[in-house]
Amino acid sequence: MSTLFNKTFALRRRQKRNRYRSGVQGIVGLALMGMVIIPVIFAPLIAPYSPTALNLSNVLAGPMTGGHILGTDQLGRDLLSRVLYGGRVPLIVVTAAVLLASIVGVVLGMTAGYLGGWIDQAVSRFADIQLSIPSLLLALVMLAFAGSSLTTLILVIALGSWPAQFRIVRAQSISLRKMPFVEAAVVGCVPAHAILRRHFLPNVMPMVVVTATLSLSAGLLIVASLGFLGLGIRPDTPDWGAMIAIGQTQLGRSWLLAVAPGVALLLLLLGVQLVGDWLADRFSVQGLLARGG
């Protein structure tokens, strides 16, 4: 008998640990994100030097020399300051782009899912078409010919990530449309826009948030890759991707040049992913649409 009771306790312990662990995952993720994002936001206050102030007499200085904690780059600019500032472009671009993509995806997805018919067909096909061009390639085409600026970068990243949001929101909206509580609203003569706002939006939100975290990390990678391929923002604006590209030839002399921005990006991505996983766990466990509580 005692073995059976032991089993019960073991089960209970495991359950507790799982809950604890997934909570920890979220906290670690948020901590990592904060660790990168906060210094980047407050770069003007924290950074010891201007990211563009060059000193041609002290190029490629090693770490901890001459007041440069991470050393200097090829133009004698303080690497730490550049890493701090270098996160601003990716963060601004990706946040704005994901926000934009989410709004577009949610609006189109809800409309297409709710209305169905040719509108749905048209938007869905457009999303399919968009998806058939790999997003980096599409971004390259757009940037090479529109030139890269903050706005074009944002648009290009948003263009690449709205289909994911759209598809998910649309699929959810299609099943929501058949939900009795939505039909009840229809029967209660609630206008379509109100149904979308009051019933669809809150119910698709969890998935939207989870998808947005996925787009966030994909977007960060694309911005970095674009910078790396030389299609990022103008080169005197520090940007992690471009910094890695410029630093990669200096690995022998000053490996920090490529690795420092790379690690900053890595920590941010890791944080975003952990938070995303955690949110996904959270929401599917709660399963807002699932029966019961």
């Binding site: 019960t8 209970r12 809950r19 009795p180 509580f181 009840a184 029967v187 003569c189 609630v190 009051r198």
Partner: protein, 673 residues
């Protein structure tokens, strides 16, 4: 053969340990059928799964024994117990379609279950599969082997599951609500199969169900469970005729039945409250908090009393012969019947359907390739809804009941025919008129869990239609409180979110929301079928009260004929998109004129002249010519295949109409069995 002694099963959840089964003792002999009944969540499934060794990962048997043929399964090593169970216990589940692997063909799923010696050759295995499928009455078993689960109807899938369960010649069959998801007619077929197998193979059957009538009809013995414990066991006839535990008595009172007389007259006797939380069950008698007869000693655990005839119960204040007397005393608020009897003219048709059709396109042709598939959900229905009546619509699954409901409230537009409200066509109206129409007709949904937005507080759900009617915030709030009170929701409840409510409370919210716009017609599509008997009784009473107080007209859709008989004045019987018979409730139930109505009634458990309607409903994509019911009708002739019967009046006795070439005369009664 099977002896369960003081079995306890715990489930570990985030909220705590649920004692789903608590010191339960049972026994079952070969060839015997033991029914296990009780409200939802009382531990029936967990008990069955403990025996079958299929508990969820978080669950485990913590004490007691399960002795199968003299071997205690709880004490055997894991592998040995598993082997023993696989050999001796077959299990079938509630939802047959999802219990089959959607990815694998029927054949390969049966083959997997065969004994190794039956699997030595492919052809041999196939033959064995076919044999099994034949045994459970699957037509053309060879053709089924390559079918996939989603291509099977519920009845067929359940037969396949039984075939799988029988693959190793078990001695014990555990059937967990095997027919809850099925129609009455299919339910009867499946239970017939189980009955036959029981006698042919000497199977012992543990039948889990919440349908008392079904257990009463089929089982030899019954065990009534409440909150993880067995409240009462005994011979079926004895227990149901003479329930001793107050809980059993309450359950029996709560269920409206087709066969008991005097329906439409009295209120149902509901059990108040909800079953206790099994992670912290109340001390003493677990039913005490809901029991109208509880007294101080009920807070200690009642002893199990065993009578000579094997009838056991655990109650301090058994019902016994006192039942009749007390039930009146128990329900002081019994009200006399509301309206006038259903005879005579009830008023103007408020709403009418004439020759209404609804076709769904299932798949279109693509660039001229493939076939277009259309499904006729409603195929020419004419029906009047009279002011102040309760019209019942009954029929098997898929016959178009819900579609009619949706046409009535405007969720679907007819593809043919017209829907008129107050004599005005609805379909062609402009937006404003549409809104007015919709506000006159409201819908109550089947599923209390899905009919409320989980992200919204319930008072906002109720208020929603009012807000968009242009109500002022303050007035709306007051109205919501009034409505909530009217449907019997306590004050604080409206501030909660749906997941904090019980099923019954949610259904009350759903009704309040439908009433918010002060409609004339309330369409209730299976409004109580997802609820436990006890809750169902409460909601049915509520609906009746509302009708009386507000003068509502009901369109009441249900596949539960007992409920329909209790609620409705007039009934329309549907078969495959058409109405085959209409008439006053009493006439329909006592003297059905259409063979299908008769067959439907015959399939209801508890019918003395039990009979089973064979076959399944034909496809709505390609309905049979002439009379649609002819493929399953024993009276069908050549004429039925060639000519479509028209509605003709039924003589005398409250009248009504029937669409049959050979309507049954009153004296004929039910022609089957």
């Amino acid at each position: 053969m099977l002896n369960v002694d003081k079995l306890s099963t715990d489930i570990v959840t985030a909220a705590g340990v649920v004692h789903a089964v608590d010191r339960v003792s049972l026994s079952l002999e070969r060839g015997e059928m033991l029914g296990l009944v009780g409200e939802s969540g009382c531990g029936k499934t967990m008990l069955a799964m403990s025996i079958a060794g299929l508990l969820p990962a978080s669950g485990s048997v913590v004490s007691g024994s399960i002795v199968l043929n003299d071997r205690d399964l709880t004490r055997l090593p894991y592998d040995e117990a598993k082997r023993l169970r696989a050999q001796n216990i077959g299990v079938i589940f509630q939802n047959p379609t999802s219990a089959l692997n959607p990815r694998m063909s029927v054949g390969s799923q049966i083959v997997e279950a065969l004994n190794p010696e039956d699997r030595t050759s492919a052809a041999g295995a196939d033959r064995k599969c076919v044999e099994l499928l034949g045994m459970v009455g699957v037509p053309r078993p060879w053709d089924r082997l390559s079918d996939y689960p989603h291509e099977l109807s519920g009845g067929l899938a359940q037969r396949v599951l039984i075939a799988i369960a029988l693959a190793r010649n078990p001695e014990l069959l555990i059937a967990d609500e095997p027919t809850t998801a099925l129609d009455v007619t299919i339910q009867a077929q499946i239970l017939d199969v189980i009955d036959r197998l029981r006698s042919e193979l000497g199977l012992g059957v543990l039948l889990v169900s919440h349908d008392m009538a079904l257990v009463a009809e089929r089982a030899d013995r019954v065990a009534v469970m409440y909150a993880g414990r067995v409240a009462e066991t005994g011979e079926v006839g004895e227990v149901f005729r003479n329930p001793l535990h107050r809980y059993t008595a309450g359950l029996l009172d709560a269920a409206p039945s087709v066969w008991s007389t005097g329906h439409g007259r009295t209120r149902l006797l509901a059990i108040d409250g909800t079953p206790p939380d099994l992670s912290a069950p109340p001390p003493g008698c677990r039913f005490a908090p809901r029991c109208k007869f509880s007294e101080s000693r009920c807070s200690t655990e009642p002893e199990v009393v065993r009578l000579d005839n094997g009838h056991t119960y655990a109650c301090w204040k058994p019902a016994g012969e006192l039942l009749e007397a007390t039930s009146a005393e128990m329900a002081p608020d019994v009200a006399p019947d509301h309206g006038a009897p259903p005879d005579g003219d009830r008023g103007q048709p408020l709403m009418s359907l004439s020759e209404v059709r609804k076709e769904f396109v299932i798949s279109r042709r693509v660039l001229g390739i493939g076939t277009e598939r259309r499904r006729q959900a409603v195929a020419g229905v004419s029906l009047d809804i009279l002011e102040g009546e309760s019209l019942g619509i009954v029929g098997e699954s898929g016959c178009g009941k819900s579609t009619i409901a949706r046409l009535l409230v405007g969720l679907e537009r007819p593809t043919g025919g017209t829907v008129t409200l107050h004599g005005r066509k609805t379909a062609a109206d402009g937006r404003g008129e549409q809104t007015a129409w919709r506000r006159t007709v409201q819908l109550v949904f089947q599923d209390p869990y899905l009919s409320l937005d989980p992200t919204m507080r319930v008072r906002d759900s109720i208020a929603e239609p009012l807000l968009y009617k242009g109500g002022r915030k303050r007035a709306v709030r007051d109205l919501v409180e009034r409505l909530a009170a009217e449907v019997g929701l306590a004050e604080g409840v409206t501030r909660r979110r749906p997941n904090e409510l019980s099923g019954g409370q949610r259904q009350r919210v759903g009704i309040a929301r439908a009433l918010a716009l002060d409609p004339q017609i309330l369409v209730a599509d299976e409004a109580v079928s997802a609820l436990d008997v006890s809750v169902q009784a409460v909601i049915l009473n509520l609906l009746k009260d509302l009708q009386r107080n507000r003068g509502l007209t009901y369109v009441f859709i249900s596949h539960d004929l007992g409920v329909v008989r209790y609620v409705c004045d007039r009934v329309a019987v549907m078969y495959l998109g058409k109405i085959v018979e209409t008439g006053p409730t009493e006439r329909i139930f006592s003297a059905p004129a259409h063979p299908y109505t008769a067959a439907l009634l015959a399939a209801v458990p508890g019918n003395a002249k039990r009979a089973t309607l064979e076959g399944e409903i034909p496809s709505a994509e390609n309905p049979p010519s002439g009379c649609r019911f002819r493929t399953r009708c024993r009276l069908a002739t050549e004429k039925c295949a060639l000519e479509e019967p028209v509605m003709q009046n039924v003589e005398g006795d409250g009248g009504g109409a029937v669409a049959c070439h050979f309507p049954l005369a009153r004296t004929e009664g039910i022609p089957l069995g």
